[in-house]
């Protein structure tokens, strides 16, 4: 997907002014944390599970070469073709090749953030293939020509009315009401059912790859991923190399955290493990199965101070709990991954230079880290990206200068106290009548939205010094 994170501030402004969308986001900010909290409170083993899974993930990533090799070996033994892709282009080309080898025209696709990263759907469509997103949220935004606004609920930014209008426009099914959400879902079911049945190739992602037996794990509530994985004659599973876990039980342990953190459920409807092509005893299933395993900077990240970001299980809890994300919505972030996790991943996976607004869209409140089931120190990683931004001089010179000046001055207490004393005395005199300033030089960012409270008099240090002298 093309990255537009440079436009963050402008996009955020636009988003803030859309009152209806803002209200929907406010509701999400209220309900999503409540549901997550209820699910976690009800799960007495939460903290212990979080610690256990963290140790498993660290162990898996520390030994990724070993486990990836083991997975490959098992997957091949199960009858899969396993392909490796260093970057988005390679994943897209490999996938297209497979489709073309089978003269495929019609692709049924499950939800996969990795394929959003690489822009796979668009790539296949430009090569003349028909690609249908089968996850309801993804289907809606595909029909609307939009990008996902949330990694779990890609269409949550759209109102029911908007979706109704979209379906009435895109589905030639004659006069009908479609007033209820159930009716919309029913229609999507009706429209998409033939897509599953007619597809030549199914493309899905994976929530985990199991090294001990070469299975991939896919979780959905809808069951669309399973239809993609069982009906078409070719199945392609696209995911990244860091998804490998040692044992099947590791994946389901991780799931206990994922589901509760993502939707407040205690489990997903469908937790499926697929190992490969149809066997002698199968009545259905793909005849040929492929894994396309993508690196796309993961090995670089593993080698950096940001390695812990790979522990992310894509639950979206950090999004739901971030007042900046819920304030401006996912599209403002300009790429596949929004919110706190997106503000770390976008610079790492694309370019810090073109997305440096994102790590700055943070007050370091720490709410994201508090709810992260993978215990990722998001505020620290975001700060480290700001440190990189600073050392690479990507931030505005006036900010760098201002901070350098303040820090330098703070290192010289007598000068600091004298200078601040003088400035504060001046501000006090200027502001004493009203008690605050509507405008102040060098403080445009502040005063555009707020008055600036006037100082009360001399600085504390001045007054204290004077009081000491008097005694």
């Amino acid at each position: 997907m093309q990255q537009r994170s440079e436009q963050f501030l402008d996009s955020a402004d636009t988003a803030l002014q859309d009152k209806d969308a803002a209200q929907r986001r406010d509701l999400m900010a209220l309900f999503a944390p409540a549901m997550r909290d209820a699910a976690v409170e009800n799960f007495t083993a939460y903290e212990a599970t979080r610690k256990h899974v963290k140790r498993i993930r660290r162990h898996s990533l520390d030994n990724l070469a070993h486990y990836l090799a083991q997975f490959e070996h098992q997957a091949v033994a199960n009858g899969n073709r396993v392909h490796f892709a260093r970057n988005a282009d390679e994943l897209n080309s490999i996938t297209l090749d497979i489709c073309q080898q089978h003269s495929a025209h019609h692709i049924a696709k499950g939800k996969s953030m990795v394929t959003e990263e690489t822009g796979l759907s668009g790539f296949l469509q430009r090569a003349g293939l028909q690609v249908v997103e089968t996850d309801l949220g993804e289907y809606i935004i595909q029909q609307a020509g939009e990008t996902p606004s949330h990694i779990v609920g890609p269409a949550l930014h759209k109102s029911r009315d908007e979706i109704r209008a979209l379906f009435l426009d895109k589905h030639p099914l004659g006069e009908r009401q479609l007033d209820e959400t159930t009716a919309l879902v029913d229609e999507a079911r009706k429209v998409l059912r033939p897509q599953f049945l007619q597809a030549d190739v199914g493309i899905i992602g994976a929530n985990a790859l199991i090294a001990e037996n070469g299975y991939s794990m896919l979780v959905t509530n809808e069951g669309n991923g399973d239809l993609c994985a069982n009906l078409p004659r070719v199945l392609i599973v696209c995911t990244t190399i860091d998804r490998v876990l040692p044992r099947a039980e590791d994946a389901t342990a991780m799931l206990r955290l994922l589901v509760r953190s993502a939707t407040g459920q205690a489990q997903t409807c469908y937790t499926s493990f697929y190992s490969g092509p149809r066997r002698a005893q199968d009545l259905d299933g793909p005849l040929e199965t492929h894994f396309v395993l993508l690196d796309n900077q993961r090995s670089d990240i593993l080698d950096s101070g940001f390695a812990e970001m790979l522990d992310c299980i894509r639950c979206g809890a950090c999004l739901n709990h971030c007042p900046i994300y819920t304030g401006v919505g996912g599209h403002a972030y300009g790429w596949v991954y929004p919110g706190p996790m997106g503000s770390v991943l976008t610079p790492l996976l694309t370019s810090l230079e073109h997305s440096n607004a994102l790590p700055n869209a943070c007050t370091a409140c720490g709410r994201c880290a508090e709810v992260c089931p993978a215990d990722i120190p998001l505020p620290d990683l975001l700060r480290d990206l700001r440190a990189r931004e600073n050392s690479e001089r990507l931030n505005a010179p006036r900010w760098r200068l201002g901070i350098s000046l303040q820090s330098w001055l703070a290192g010289k207490p007598r000068l600091y106290h004298a200078l601040t004393g003088a400035c504060i005395a001046l501000l006090y005199r200027m502001g004493r009548k009203r008690g605050s300033f509507r405008r102040l030089p060098f403080a445009g960012g502040w005063t555009s939205q707020r008055d600036f409270p006037a100082p009360q008099g001399k600085t504390f240090m001045q007054q204290y010094k004077e009081a000491l002298r008097e005694h």
Partner: protein, 266 residues
């Protein structure tokens, strides 16, 4: 809660407490400093204000200038070395000293940072958990008991230092004030240091949400432990013409609430 009888703390030989005033209080609200001094003096400890203090280095740190932050951190560690306790009327500055200095520094300085962290406390945490029980200098509460005050949690204080119950307990026990609670009290007010100036529209939205919650409680005073949050919210409240006063908790606890509120007419 601390039940030590405070009758015989000798200010000369007892613990020496240093007040780390914080740059925002020093420049924009000295009343916080004087209230803090007053509160600390009532504990019977010897209280001083190290004159070489300036800033804890948060602006540099959060802006990613780690080198400048380290330089300031080392200075602060030196300046605060003599004190037995360091008390800070700010969750974010106390968090900077306790939580982030050790992360920033290595080797010997890392050890010194840990040592400083062990004796540094946010104001309400110190008063509630460490110091002997205060006596009341003024027998009458400065604001009518139990009415019209709602509490604003500081994100850093809450998540880095566990400051939640202490200020509420102090208000209740020493002032007879039962502070009201904000809806969605765990959500950030939108100050975030340089964030509020870099992303003013977003920070204003967050401020509005917080102020709307405060107005919905009917409270006349919003009180908190961090001046950054309070200056930002007070400024926004003034811009919107909202009828609510903002004060720092030190002022309420010390009974010094006759002066103007933050951003109010002087």
């Amino acid at each position: 809660m601390n039940d030590n009888p405070r009758a015989t703390v000798d200010a000369k030989t007892g613990p020496q407490v240093a007040l780390f005033i914080t740059c925002l209080a020093d420049l924009f609200r000295p009343a916080v400093g004087f209230a803090s001094l007053s509160l600390l003096q009532r504990t019977g400890y010897a209280v001083s204000v190290p004159m070489a203090q300036t800033c804890c280095g948060q602006p540099a740190y959060n802006s990613g200038d780690y080198d400048a932050a380290r330089t300031l951190a080392r200075r602060v560690i030196e300046v605060l070395a003599p004190a037995d306790y360091v008390v800070v009327p700010s969750g974010s500055c106390a968090g900077m000293l306790c939580h982030h200095y050790p992360r920033l520094l290595e080797g010997v300085w890392h050890e010194r940072a840990l040592e400083l962290a062990a004796r540094t406390f946010e104001l309400t945490s110190f008063l509630e958990e460490i110091a002997p029980r205060m006596t009341h200098a003024t027998p009458e509460p400065a604001t009518p008991a139990g009415s019209g005050v709602v509490y604003l949690d500081s994100c850093a204080g809450l998540r880095e230092l566990g400051i939640r119950e202490q200020p509420r307990a102090l208000l209740r026990e020493t002032r007879g004030i039962e502070a009201g609670e904000l809806e969605q009290r765990d959500v950030c007010c939108g100050f975030g240091g340089t964030f509020c100036a870099k992303m003013p529209a977003i920070s204003a939205k967050m401020a509005d949400d917080k102020l709307d919650s405060a107005m919905a409680t009917g409270a006349h005073t919003l009180v908190g432990g961090d001046l950054g949050c309070l200056l930002h919210l007070a400024g926004r409240a003034r811009r919107r013409g909202l009828d609510i006063e903002l004060r720092h908790i030190a002022e309420l606890l010390a009974g010094e609430t006759t002066g103007p509120a933050i951003g109010g007419e002087l």
